[in-house]
């Protein structure tokens, strides 16, 4: 089990291997479909992004609202593939990690290899357990998007698995091959 603190350097990210369990601590940012669309539209217009992506990790999540006294409500990963058409653009901007669940496109994996970014998996549907590893949350961009706004999360020992590493090795392909016809 490896412990990492964000932001992540390219060097550290390139050391990570598919299947490795990692506990992430520090700041991570949330973004899903609508926030990605706006970020890429801003890039197309040459406008500044609301957050500096260099070395950062984006968590694909739209959390539940917190109850009084909680920093955040349930907060598990959403399906990453919906972000695929935008992802190579944000990786070019220095993004080092993504947390989500589900398959990624060949274009995303190519960008990860080229620029040095890693795809972490969190357990889909484990929103209540994962919320406990989030210590603070605040909206930092696009508040009108509600649950799709960009949040800055402070996490402690957030449990993830390296799903696709910078060599393009994919845990989903390998796992499936191993247990086919079991």
């Amino acid at each position: 089990m490896r412990r990492l603190r964000t932001p992540l350097s390219e060097e550290v990210v390139r050391e990570l291997e598919m299947g490795e369990q990692v506990l992430l601590s520090g700041v991570i940012y949330t973004a899903r479909d609508a926030a990605h669309k706006r970020m890429v539209e801003a890039m197309d217009k040459g406008e500044a992004l609301p957050i500096d992506l260099e070395g950062q990790v984006i968590y694909y999540v739209g959390p539940c609202p917190p109850k009084p006294g909680q920093p955040i409500g349930s907060a598990g990963p959403t399906t990453s593939g919906r972000m695929d058409s935008y992802t190579p653009r944000v990786i070019e901007k220095g993004l080092r990690g993504m947390i989500g669940k589900g398959l990624r496109s060949p274009e995303v994996i190519e960008a990860m290899k080229k620029y040095g970014a890693v795809y972490f998996l969190a357990i889909g549907g484990a929103g209540a357990l994962l919320a406990k590893r989030v210590k603070a949350a605040e909206v930092v961009a696009y508040p009108d998007l509600g649950p799709e706004a960009i949040y800055r999360l402070e996490v402690e020992d957030f449990p993830v698995t390296v799903g696709v590493d910078t060599r393009g090795r994919d845990i989903y392909e390998e796992g499936k091959r191993k247990y086919r016809k079991c």
Partner: protein, 281 residues
């Protein structure tokens, strides 16, 4: 003799059902997950199922949503024909119940007003409501918060009668195989066969409400269910797609008479957070 039900009772029931459905995983789903953990041969797969169980227990104990995707609220109403509804508009009452449930239960509001303009309605309304008129003087309300991770992996195909059971089997298994890790396996696979396009989709969704693993009463359909389940679990996808022998907990098929020239098949996929709650007024 008509029995009167005030729609305010419907509103309050829907509010409570939205919250309990999102916090409390049904007992049959929990049991199916525990059995799956025993059956799974992959260590990672077994650990994953155990974490899924721990998550559901945590959610129930701490009164919080099992999954942050508290979905589009699907509401099935089985309205007795001897019921007279009073006090207002039934569907407005259902939507007001959803509005209150999603607000007071701290559930995520995931509905946008238009498929292209995509403005969040901020209260999870409108619900998707299906009403059946049935004999009797009761109103049964079933609330199903359906997330999009699994819903997006669903599929429908208008097959030909010649393609028959083999064709259906192939289509269902291919749909699940293509979905891979996306719909949060272990999944429950709802299949609707027959009717017309819309009917197949509707019964596929309703098939998800059956207690997990309870076979269809028709022997040839029950046989098809178990054959498809076996094929699905040979894909190797496994819990969360990390590899293993439990990709699906169950396959539930519902059928309906169809046209001489038709074989519509709908596959509705349900993630492991198979949430639903019901109340009869």
């Amino acid at each position: 003799m008509m029995r009167e039900i005030d729609v305010a009772e419907v509103r309050d029931a829907v509010e409570g059902l939205c919250i309990s459905a999102c916090y409390d995983l049904p007992q049959d789903v929990m049991e199916a997950l525990k059995k799956a953990a025993e059956k799974e041969i992959s260590d990672v797969g077994r650990d994953t199922i155990n974490l899924i169980i721990e998550n559901a227990e945590t959610a129930a104990r701490e009164r919080m949503p099992i999954c942050q995707d508290t979905g589009v609220t699907i509401v099935f109403l089985e309205l007795g024909q001897d019921v007279r509804l009073v006090g207002g508009d039934l569907y407005e009452a259902v939507n007001e119940g959803v509005r209150r449930g999603y607000t007071n239960g701290y559930l995520r509001k995931s509905v946008v007003d238009d498929p292209f303009l995509r403005r969040n309605t901020k209260d999870n309304t409108p619900a998707v409501i299906y009403t059946d008129i049935v004999p009797g003087d009761k109103l049964r309300i079933i609330v199903v918060p359906k997330g999009t991770g699994s819903e997006n992996m669903s599929a429908l195909k208008m097959m030909t009668p010649a393609q028959g059971m083999e064709g259906v089997k192939k289509f269902v298994v291919e749909t699940v195989d293509k979905a891979g890790s996306n719909p949060c396996p272990p999944i429950i696979v709802g299949v609707g066969i027959g009717g017309m396009m819309d009917k197949a989709a509707q019964i596929a969704k309703k098939a998800l409400l059956r207690p997990v693993g309870q076979p269809n009463p028709l022997p040839h359909i029950a046989k098809l269910e178990s054959e498809i389940l076996e094929e699905i679990n040979k894909t190797g996808i496994g819990p969360q797609g990390l590899g293993g022998c439990v990709t699906a907990l169950a396959v539930h098929i519902e059928t309906y008479p169809t046209h001489i020239g038709a074989l519509p098949v709908a596959v509705n996929i349900q993630c492991h957070a198979a949430r639903h709650a019901e109340k009869t007024l």
